[in-house]
Subunit: 272 residues, 2 copies
């Protein structure tokens, strides 16, 4: 299977990380397009691609076009490309959203373009180091063959772990990703603020609690969440939980977050 030439539309966090990873893995990045021409030019220069004036122009230059744009932009962008492109022979287009199936690409499909979903179950920084998050990441794929095979190969080539997203309830799947990626960040932020209010310096609170988060993730590599869970809720130490809740009385919302997560933690530990 030959490696298809790639167009990236949307030089943001995910689009940039994928462009870099694919190029490093031997793919030719033929074109980059974006709403902000400067960002598109900059990424294009870095991955030796042509910046294009239009999204359809990017699709014309490549076999596989990646729409790395916000969820609500996918459908209008696909429609715009479908209306202005010249030929669809041998063209494929995918989006990167975990929350959407292939429906927002329907206008491209109707115009003869093969469509699919390529969802890295990962979160990326803006900086070039973001590409380091890709190896080992699960990458959900939804497409008909032969595009499915081609995307599976691309996922593997960049060090990802491809899996099939067809038939998966995207809303529940996406909510699961949000719980882990977004709400862990929020828990850390709340914990940092709490530690500071306890008398710990800002940098010490961030560095120390982030190292604790990393240690927690380390522990989970070789065990299940249920086995990895420690702390007062796992031990059934109600008096410590009550002391924590009392200390959070000045912030009823955070107190409620703590109480609910203590309840779920105990439930996890007691599950058979």
């Amino acid at each position: 299977m030959n490696k298809p030439s790639i167009a990236i539309i949307g030089p943001g966090r995910a689009g940039s990380a994928l462009a870099r990873a694919l190029r490093t893995s031997g793919y030719v990045i033929a074109a980059v397009n974006g709403r902000n021409p400067d960002n598109a030019r900059q990424l294009a220069k870095e991955v030796n691609a042509r910046p294009t004036a239009t999204a359809a122009g990017a699709l014309e230059l490549a076999e596989l076009t990646i729409l790395a744009v916000p969820d609500d932009v996918i459908a209008p962008l696909a429609s715009e490309i479908a209306q202005s492109m010249c030929a669809s022979d041998g063209k494929s287009a995918v989006h990167l959203s975990g929350a959407q199936d292939r429906a927002p690409l329907a206008s491209l499909r109707a115009a003869g373009v093969r469509t699919g979903v390529f969802h890295p179950l990962q979160t990326f920084r803006k900086e070039p180091e973001a590409v380091n998050n890709i190896p080992g990441s699960a990458i959900g794929i939804d497409a008909d063959s032969p595009l499915h095979d081609l995307l599976t190969r691309a996922a593997t080539d960049i060090g990802g772990e491809p899996f099939d997203l067809s038939g998966v309830d995207r809303v529940r799947y996406h909510a699961a990703a949000v719980l882990v990626a977004n709400y862990t960040v929020t828990l850390l932020a709340e914990a940092e603020a709490l530690a500071q209010s306890a008398g710990i310096g800002k940098k010490r609170a961030h560095d120390g609690l982030l190292r604790l988060l990393t240690g927690t993730a380390n522990n989970l590599r070789a065990t299940t969440p249920r086995e990895a869970l420690t702390g007062p809720a796992a031990r059934g130490d109600d008096s410590t939980i009550q002391r924590h809740l009392d200390a959070l009385a000045s912030d009823p919302t955070l107190q409620q977050v703590y109480a609910l997560l203590a309840q779920r933690s105990r439930r996890l530990k007691e599950a058979i």
Copy 2:
């Protein structure tokens, strides 16, 4: 400053990890004691220490005794040792609890033993690899000099980042650690169950979401939680949040956890 000889009372997760780390760093582990004689003997053998029949016997053999026991055992154990030990000259004893100050060691202090707190802000697996979580971990210290200096040196020797716990509100500090260490595990468990209910296989859900958690922690090394936060709450994408909440309607508690964390995420993003 000479390295003090060490006694470990409580060969559990934290006690074992510290015994291994201290020995690797050139400390002599003189004694190990524990309620379960087999566990104590096994750790003693590994770190070339003497297993002792009593906790007081362990303290007699070492300059620095580490009480690596559950919070509610610290005070009775300290009292038991104080009553049966022969001499306190040059002896120090610390506990590892982040939730307690030096008060539970009062009976040892009254008997002439220097007392302190040595709290690794970290979570440890049972397995020997747990020792790998120590380097880079913040280690909170509360003691009068010269014990404070000695503990600071020991924390540094094992690769930790010592900081001063005196004057810190232990309840809020400990609650912060629980939010990060325990409730991140619980969020991951909830997300894994949710992804499975969406149609993802069990191992793929665990591996994929754990890699997402690791990527999230990676991102936070070079940025603040506020900057690292992405997702629907950070974007103010209320329709996606509502779809997630609808999908969680069959589990009102988890739905409430999601709603509260979405609210806190938005608050974090909007903070000035």
